[in-house]
């Protein structure tokens, strides 16, 4: 059974989804989804431990050996992201019933869990696969179910947000498809490890260069890098709270993993950065992303939208780390991938509690919330501190590695800019904290804390934020191993 773990990671939620359609019952489908998600979490941890021991796991689907067959190939980088996706998927599901009871009609709850499980399957599939076209298929599976999930929001603007995401996401995925097709044209293979080997001699041809360009733009669309980010604020803002928490913590992270896989493993850091000057493109875009989106976040009155813009800034930090192309830079990027998912997941879960009790996430409605919902407000403050990068939270670990990486290369201005970004984060977090604690509540509203089923997952993620902030040897250690693996080029 242990040999089949890589494929069971994908198959268990895939089997649970149609069972949810057949069961049709609100609570039973939730229990089934919960069982599936927590089983996947357990399996992904086992896989991570195995990979830390042995290097990588390879699984041939259908018994056909790679490179003729589709292969699932899990090394340290994938395993790390798999554990992250499974953790978020399982934790957010605990939170779901109370939250969607207020936001989605009861008859549709079983369909919600089905779409959630399908999106979960897609994300796990993208991360585990070792075949480029299989990646496209799973990418579309997760994207299409996300479009459906986002459109379930109460506000009618959720429909337009989902439509806009559909158009931009499909264009991005089709660009990736074109890139993969051009790579197939030049090398005759779709297996990632084989592509890395066979692409070497033909990297100078125009086809390979165009393939790189198409793949780069497609992946940037999916991970919402600065100019191609327009779908993200609306999609995160108008989707149901559960969906925002799930997607904010997983979808863009998995797309960043895809970027790492294509740029470092298949094309090679040499080609991408030395010949194609990817650094001169990514670093400025990342810096612009950090500053413009953080500044826009300061002026938002809808807190979900503010956190969405903050997510864009954090993606900028991750891409900055990747753009630095050093071991420390890549470690910073990979560890921030993990940390940001934890932070943002917790923050959106806290906001979901606010949305449930208040019915809105506008700043002026949250006046004096510190007295009415003390636990949730404190959770928000903790998450905010992590966004700023205060020591003892995971945000500090990421910023530390990022600044270290910039200083290693002698780029003092870059380090200063990273710290300036933290200042902007401080401004927009303080805005909310001031309203929560230092303004009187509108009427004598009673204490009305979020239900326990919603608080437990939120505190789970926040406990992880503080734990991995205090002792980062596990997360940063694995990230460093992943960075070394990626820079070494070998799969």
């Amino acid at each position: 059974m242990e040999a089949h773990l890589p494929v069971l990671l994908i198959v268990v939620p895939l089997l649970a989804a149609p069972l949810c359609v057949l069961l049709r019952h609100r609570t039973l489908t939730w229990i089934l989804a919960l069982l599936a998600a927590w089983t996947v979490l357990g399996m992904s941890v086992v896989v991570l431990l195995r990979v830390l021991d042995t290097g990588f796991i390879s699984y041939a689907l259908g018994g056909w050996a790679a490179p003729w067959g589709i292969e699932l190939r899990i090394d340290v980088v994938n395993a790390y992201v798999l554990v992250l996706v499974a953790l978020i998927g399982a934790t957010v599901l605990l939170y779901a019933p109370a939250s969607i009871a207020a936001e989605i009609p009861r008859e549709q709850h079983y369909l919600f869990y089905t779409a959630y499980l399908l999106s979960f399957t897609g994300l796990l599939g993208i991360t585990a696969t070792g075949d480029a076209f299989n990646l496209f298929v799973f990418l579309e599976i997760s994207s299409i179910s996300s479009y459906a999930l986002i459109s379930l929001g109460r506000d009618r603007r959720a429909l337009m947000a989902s439509y806009q995401y559909l158009i931009m996401g499909t264009i991005g995925a089709t660009f990736i498809l074109i890139g993969v097709g051009l790579l197939y044209m030049m090398t005759g293979t779709l297996n990632m490890a084989d592509l890395a080997v066979r692409l070497g001699p033909v990297l100078h041809t125009r086809t390979a260069l165009v393939a790189f360009a198409f793949l780069g733009v497609g992946m940037s669309l999916k991970l919402a890098l600065f100019p191609l980010h327009a779908w993200l604020p609306n999609a995160y803002c108008y989707a149901p709270s559960v969906v925002t928490a799930f997607l904010a913590a997983t979808a863009t992270k998995v797309s960043i993993y895809v970027f790492l896989r294509f740029v470092f493993t298949i094309f090679g850091a040499d080609f991408a950065f030395a010949q194609m000057h990817l650094q001169t493109i990514i670093v400025p875009l990342a810096l612009i992303a950090i500053f413009i989106t953080s500044s826009v976040a300061i002026f938002q009155t809808n807190i979900k939208r503010m956190l969405a813009y903050s997510s864009l800034a954090q993606i900028g930090y991750i891409m900055l780390g990747i753009g630095l192309v050093s071991e420390t830079g890549l470690t910073a990027a990979i560890v921030h991938l993990f940390n940001h998912a934890l932070m943002k997941g917790a923050l959106f879960l806290a906001l979901g509690g606010v949305a449930l009790r208040l019915g809105s996430v506008e700043l002026e409605d949250m006046r004096g919330l510190g007295k009415r919902m003390p636990a949730t407000s404190f959770a928000f403050v903790l998450g905010g501190l992590s966004l700023i990068g205060v020591p003892l939270t995971v945000g500090f670990i990421s910023k530390w590695y990022l600044v270290l990486a910039a200083l290693e290369q002698g780029w003092w201005p870059l380090a200063a800019l990273v710290l300036l970004g933290s200042l902007l984060a401080f401004i927009y977090i303080w805005r909310v904290v001031e309203v929560l604690y230092f303004q009187p509540p509108p009427t004598d509203a009673p204490r009305n804390e979020a239900p326990l089923s919603m608080q437990i997952p939120m505190w789970l993620l926040l406990a992880a934020v503080v734990y991995f902030g205090a002792s980062a040897s596990l997360t940063a250690g694995i990230a460093r191993k992943a960075a070394i693996l990626l820079l070494g080029g070998a799969l």
Binding site: I144, A148, R156, L166, I171, T174, G181
Partner: protein
Amino acid sequence: MNLIAGLFNYWVVIFLMMAGFYNVIARGNLIKKLIGLNIFQTSVFLLYISMGKKEGGTAPIVAGADAVYSNPLPHVLILTAIVVGVATTAVGLALVMRIKEAYGSIEEDEIHQRDGEA
């Protein structure tokens, strides 16, 4: 001359791709955008299939000992991609129907206007 006639299939792919992409960007009607997306995806299918054809090759169905077959792998990839395209179009059309119900219009500028008023 060979640049056009020899690479004819790629010219068709480029034409369809740009026509579809232009439709997605320039049209305000939501359904026309979806049609543009479909044309864009169709051009990618043509790219894959034309790449799989071998000179003198016949359809990749077993037909005797020494027949020359076209590469069957792109055909399989395109079948999958077509299904993905159908699913995306279905979700897109369902969204457009819900938008029509909620806003009363499927023109993008009218929808933004009604959002601004609300």
